[in-house]
């Protein structure tokens, strides 16, 4: 296994790690977003879905066990994603010790230039989000097992909804660059394939963002309520 | 002192093979005992350094650029000739040999040229194996094109960047040897003198262009691969830093300089736009395949080209040379352009330009076809001039491009100084009075990959265990001379910049020793150059110091040598009262105004020896033509 650690020393491998962990995290946000949409089907469906997540892996695994395994996996992915990002950022800062008096970006997008900041915003958001809607200790009226209630009471507060929308939008930007970038980092390119990479990134960044944003918007506008 | 060209005996086809057999070899285990200095790392120097290192010699390579990859060979566009006959169109080694001797207007050595044609085929093999991305057919074989008026398709090419790709091949081979520790590379280092001990070249003195440090390097042999001297004209297609210093310093130490007046002018360059102009840009002469050259019939016609009706245009090449038309050789096209401009028919702001018009070709073939053939050239033209050649005719004018002259070398590429070699454009050997298109790359690589590595061994094998080190007093003495000269240039502290002198020198040379030369003009030039040189040493202003990067100081040293070279070129042009190839003496022309050779009196190489006290001394190496029949060129 030594070779893996040796390989990891290379920035190209670190980028590959970012890409692979990015794929895992993307898979997570996509399914999370899809699950969220159950809120439109009413309290029973979404609460049952939430409960169903704990049942995953049965009968081989016990109640909630697979979910915990997945959570640990996700946490590891987040950790590696962050570690690589942090190490690469350090390297990249060192590579240009004196900055330009004037620099005019030519191709870099807003999304690509804000990956680091977006990443940090998302990190803080995740912590808050877990405390808010998973653990519930920063929630005004948290009811264990009643996802629908927790969502609706939370997002009726425009400040909280606004913050969610903001965070999810920055996730969208992060995905817009990341979903394209991962193909580059993993060396997945080709003359026909390249147009698809960009479309894929736009489409899924948009789907994830719109999907996530739709819930607080629906609650805020009263489309969904008690 | 007579010069011995050491041409092997025997039938021409066998000379090189026999000679290779006769050359003494250095035992593989002994090769690492020899140090070879390579000055210049373009196609010739880079390929030679790499090959010598592969053989086992220790090589020290020097270039003034920051990397060997930037040598001016990189700018060659068209291609490289080789007698592969892949196109099955009747090419052969003998035909390439014949064409090259004829193209050189019968002023080159048959034996050298035949060897060049022989090894041309090996060059292509070597370069393809290095991964040079030559143009290919769909079946995967190499593509060829016909170039520079050749009647067979023998030119290999990589789009319009053949020089770049070949140089990168040689550069990569060189870097491989640097990585292997067999070549020590000294970039940003300029050679300022050769060190002779007992009449043999035993090292060089260099200046580090970053720190200004002057240092010595000893070796068993010294090879100069420092290119041509077109920049004596200030404006040329050569890179800005190309210079004559290395070979001129060698000349001053006793190496004969051969045929200095044989310079080549390229007809399709972008005209000068103003006094600030720093260099001229060449556009591939393939443009003449589809472009029609013309000027307005009326002198001083200031209408835009597109408003001049057909009847008022003079397609002078088509008119004067009905069978070759716009495809006449470089020198003929150049001279005619100058003539019409001298008569006041020139176009553009300076009046020094002629139109190269694609309107007819675009009409016939469509814009797309033209764009496919010349798209990159059109873009380059537009970048420089701001004019769109699809809409308005290009303007072109001849410019200095290549120098056939250079250090005299024998068949082994050794100069008249023992142990001092010259390869590539730096020597005079293969192109006679005129170089054919796509032959410069061929010669550079032939010398570097396949000739010098053999011939240098013969010399070295005779000088085993004769090491010198830089402790020898000759090094200290030469270093002192170099330092003195540098300090002298800095101390003048006059009022004129180096460039202003260089520009003036260039203008003198262009006017009197350029496309057309005559007795009175050359004599006048000699006087004026001497006066300007005297003023230079009295009034040049070189700012800064010698212990740091000082580009003015670098230029000053080079321009000082250009003055001396310029005079030699004029002497040579004055002495050769015939016209041949790129050398056109107005006194020697046919009734139709074409170049008239005088084989009776001038079938020789003019090898000039340096004379510190006055006029240079001429030694003639007679040329014998056993195989090629001498004929007068005609393109009517």
């Amino acid at each position: 296994m030594k070779w893996i650690f040796e390989l990891y020393r290379s920035p190209i491998a670190k980028k590959a790690v970012m890409a692979l962990t990015g794929v895992i995290l993307f898979g997570f946000v996509l399914s999370h977003m899809a699950g969220n949409l159950k809120v439109f089907q009413g309290p029973e469906k979404i609460n049952a879905y939430a409960e169903g997540l704990r049942e995953l892996g049965k009968p081989i695994l016990g109640h909630g066990e697979l979910l915990w395994i997945l959570r640990v996996g996700l946490l590891a992915a987040v950790g590696l994603h962050m570690l690589s990002a942090w190490q690469l950022t350090k390297l990249n800062r060192k590579a240009r010790p004196i900055s330009y008096a004037k620099r005019t970006p030519q191709a870099a997008t807003y999304a690509s230039r804000t990956m680091r900041y977006g990443g940090v915003i998302i990190l803080f958001f995740i912590v808050y989000h877990l405390l808010h809607l998973t653990v519930g200790n920063v929630h005004v009226d948290f009811k264990h097992g009643d996802v629908y209630h927790n969502l609706v009471t939370a997002f009726q507060n425009p400040l909280i909804a606004g913050f969610y929308i903001l965070a999810v939008t920055s996730l969208g930007f992060h995905l817009y660059h990341g979903l394209w970038s991962l193909f580059q980092s993993l060396g997945w390119s080709g003359p026909r394939f390249n147009a698809f990479r960009r479309q894929f990134a736009i489409a899924f960044a948009a789907i994830v963002t719109v999907g996530f944003v739709s819930v607080p918007l629906a609650i805020l506008s009263g489309f969904i309520g008690h | 002192m007579p010069l011995n060209a050491k041409i092997p005996s025997g039938p021409i086809e066998q000379k090189w093979d026999r000679h290779r057999f006769d050359l003494k070899l250095v035992n593989p285990a002994n090769k690492r005992k020899f140090d070879i200095i390579m000055v210049g790392t373009g196609l010739a120097g880079g390929s030679a350094a790499a090959t010598l290192a592969e053989l086992g010699y220790n090589v020290k390579a020097f270039c003034f650029q920051d990397s060997p990859r930037r040598a001016h060979s990189i700018a060659a566009q068209g291609g490289i000739n080789a007698a592969k006959n892949y196109q099955n169109d009747g090419d052969s080694i003998y035909r390439l040999f014949y064409d090259t001797v004829k193209g050189g207007d019968y002023r080159s050595r048959e034996a050298n040229v035949h060897r060049l044609a022989q090894v041309s085929v090996n060059i292509i093999d070597q370069c393809a194996a290095q991964g040079v991305p030559f143009a290919r057919e769909y079946g995967g074989t190499l593509d060829n094109r016909s170039f520079g008026g050749a009647q067979v398709s023998r030119t290999f090419y990589a789009r319009g960047q053949t020089g770049q790709q070949l140089l990168l091949g040689a550069y990569q081979a060189l870097e491989r040897q640097i990585g292997a520790g067999k070549v020590t590379m000294y970039p940003r280092t300029e050679m300022l003198d050769v060190v002779l001990i007992d009449g043999r070249a035993r090292g060089i003195v260099t200046r580090d262009l970053i720190t200004g440090e002057v240092s010595s390097h000893a070796a068993d042999a010294v090879v100069l691969a420092t290119g041509g001297y077109s920049n004596v004209f200030f404006l040329s297609t050569n890179a800005k830093n190309c210079n004559v210093t290395a070979i001129w310093r060698a000349h001053r130490r006793g190496a004969h300089f051969a045929n200095p007046c044989f310079t080549q002018i390229h007809p399709t360059c972008i005209p000068v736009s103003g006094d600030y102009q720093s260099k001229l840009t060449l556009m591939s002469e393939s443009l003449r395949n589809d472009g029609r050259i013309w000027v307005p019939k009326t002198k001083g016609d200031e209408r835009p080209a597109n408003q001049i009706p057909e009847a008022e245009r003079d397609y002078y090449l088509e008119r004067k040379y009905p069978s070759f038309g716009n495809l006449v050789p470089r020198d003929v096209a150049s001279r005619n352009a100058k003539e019409v401009c001298d008569e006041g028919q020139g176009v553009g702001p300076s009046g020094l330009g002629v139109y190269l018009d694609f309107a007819e070709a675009i009409g016939r073939l469509g814009k797309e076809a033209i764009s496919e053939r010349y798209g990159n050239l059109f873009e380059m033209y537009e970048k420089i001039t701001g004019e769109d050649p699809y809409e308005v005719p290009m303007r072109i004018y001849p410019a200095l491009h290549y120098t056939m002259g250079g250090l005299w070398v024998d068949y082994n590429l050794m100069t008249s100084v023992e142990g001092l070699y010259a390869i590539g454009e730096a020597n005079f050997s293969d192109h006679g009075a005129n170089r054919l298109g796509a032959s410069a790359l061929m010669q550079g690589l032939a010398d570097g990959y396949f000739v010098l590595p053999y011939t240098i061994g013969d010399y070295l094998s005779k000088h085993m265990d004769e090491k010198v080190t830089t402790d020898h007093p000759a090094f200290a003495a030469t270093e002192a001379e170099v330092r003195d000269r540098t300090e002298k240039l800095l101390a003048i502290d006059g009022s004129r910049t180096v460039d202003s002198f260089h520009r003036e020198l260039g203008k003198l040379m262009w006017d009197h020793c350029g496309m057309n030369r005559n007795d009175a003009g050359l004599r006048l030039a000699l006087e004026k150059i001497s006066a300007l040189e005297e003023e230079f040493w009295r009034d040049v202003k070189v700012v800064g110091s010698s212990d740091t990067v000082n580009q003015s100081l670098e230029k000053a040293g080079r321009v000082a040598d250009f003055f001396e070279l310029a005079k030699l070129m004029c002497y040579d042009a004055l002495e050769r009262t015939e016209s041949c190839g790129g050398h056109f003496r107005e006194e020697s022309q046919t009734p139709e105004g074409e170049a008239l050779r005088n084989d009776e009196d001038f079938s020789y190489v003019s090898a000039w020896g340096y004379n510190p006290d006055g006029a240079p001394q001429l030694t003639k190496e007679d040329l014998e033509f056993e195989y090629v029949k001498l004929t007068q060129r005609s393109y009517k």
Partner: protein, 250 residues
């Protein structure tokens, strides 16, 4: 035209540098950018001041020597153009132009606008070649190269090694340069025997120099005077990961 220049002046590798203002009062739109600097330098020299040092040579966009950051863009505002081929007609009368050297830890400044790019040579030394000694080549047509591969290899091989990619990259990364050579040689059959080892060695050398890493901003591609595509970076990443995971190359 009358221009104002803000130029980085630095006396030597270890000296402190600073921006210095110069007036360029009589600039013709037909001049190239370097000719404009020549004129400024000519005046400086006449006044006994040291001219601005910058690398340049062929002045026709192929040698790769010129290396100026012009108004925050490597080689200036015109796409697919080196500074030497950039002409002043792309500027307006009264413009203020900022001129800086390439900035990267791997490209230390030597003087003024001149930097040391020898890191690129060392990357090539580490494996940017095909190991074939002179004389041992087979007949050139014995190895067939599909035209599409030859064409693509050419596009990668068109790199002039100027370093604009590194200069423009927010991370000072040399991925475009390195990948161009890896791809050129990896695309032709002659380059296959060393393909795995080459990419591993060249990437290792690239990483040993003080270059940053690629974060896919595409800035390099945008300023590359030869328009070399970042597809080659993807290709290098693929070759590298494959070689490190699947082959014995080390």
């Amino acid at each position: 035209m009358k221009l104002t220049l803000n130029v980085w002046r630095q006396a030597g590798p270890d000296a402190e540098g600073r921006m210095q203002r110069y007036e360029a009062p009589d600039v013709s739109p037909e001049m190239s950018f370097l000719e404009m600097l020549d004129v400024v330098n000519q005046r400086l020299e006449e006044n006994g001041e040291e001219p601005i040092v910058f690398d340049h040579d062929c002045r026709e966009g192929i040698c790769g020597a010129c290396s100026l950051m012009i108004d925050g863009v490597a080689h200036g505002p015109q796409a697919a153009t080196t500074a030497c081929q950039l002409h002043m007609r792309h500027f307006k009368d009264g413009d203020e132009i900022t001129i800086e050297p390439w900035r990267a830890a791997a490209f230390p400044v030597l003087k003024d606008l001149m930097v040391d790019r020898s890191a690129f040579d060392r990357i090539i030394q580490s494996g940017g070649y095909i190991s074939i000694n002179t004389g041992s080549a087979p007949d050139a047509n014995e190895v067939l190269v599909p035209k599409v591969d030859a064409d693509q290899a050419f596009e990668a091989a068109a790199c002039i090694g100027c370093g604009a990619c590194v200069a423009q990259c927010p991370n000072g990364a040399a991925q475009l340069f390195t990948s161009a050579k890896v791809s050129h040689l990896g695309l032709v059959p002659q380059g296959q025997p060393e393909r795995d080892q080459r990419v591993v060695s060249m990437v290792a050398q690239m990483e040993a120099e003080a270059f940053g890493s690629c974060t896919n901003h595409r800035e390099c591609e945008a300023v590359c005077p030869k328009e070399i595509s970042i597809d080659f970076i993807a290709r290098m990443n693929r070759d590298y990961l494959k070689a490190r995971i699947m082959s014995r190359a080390k």
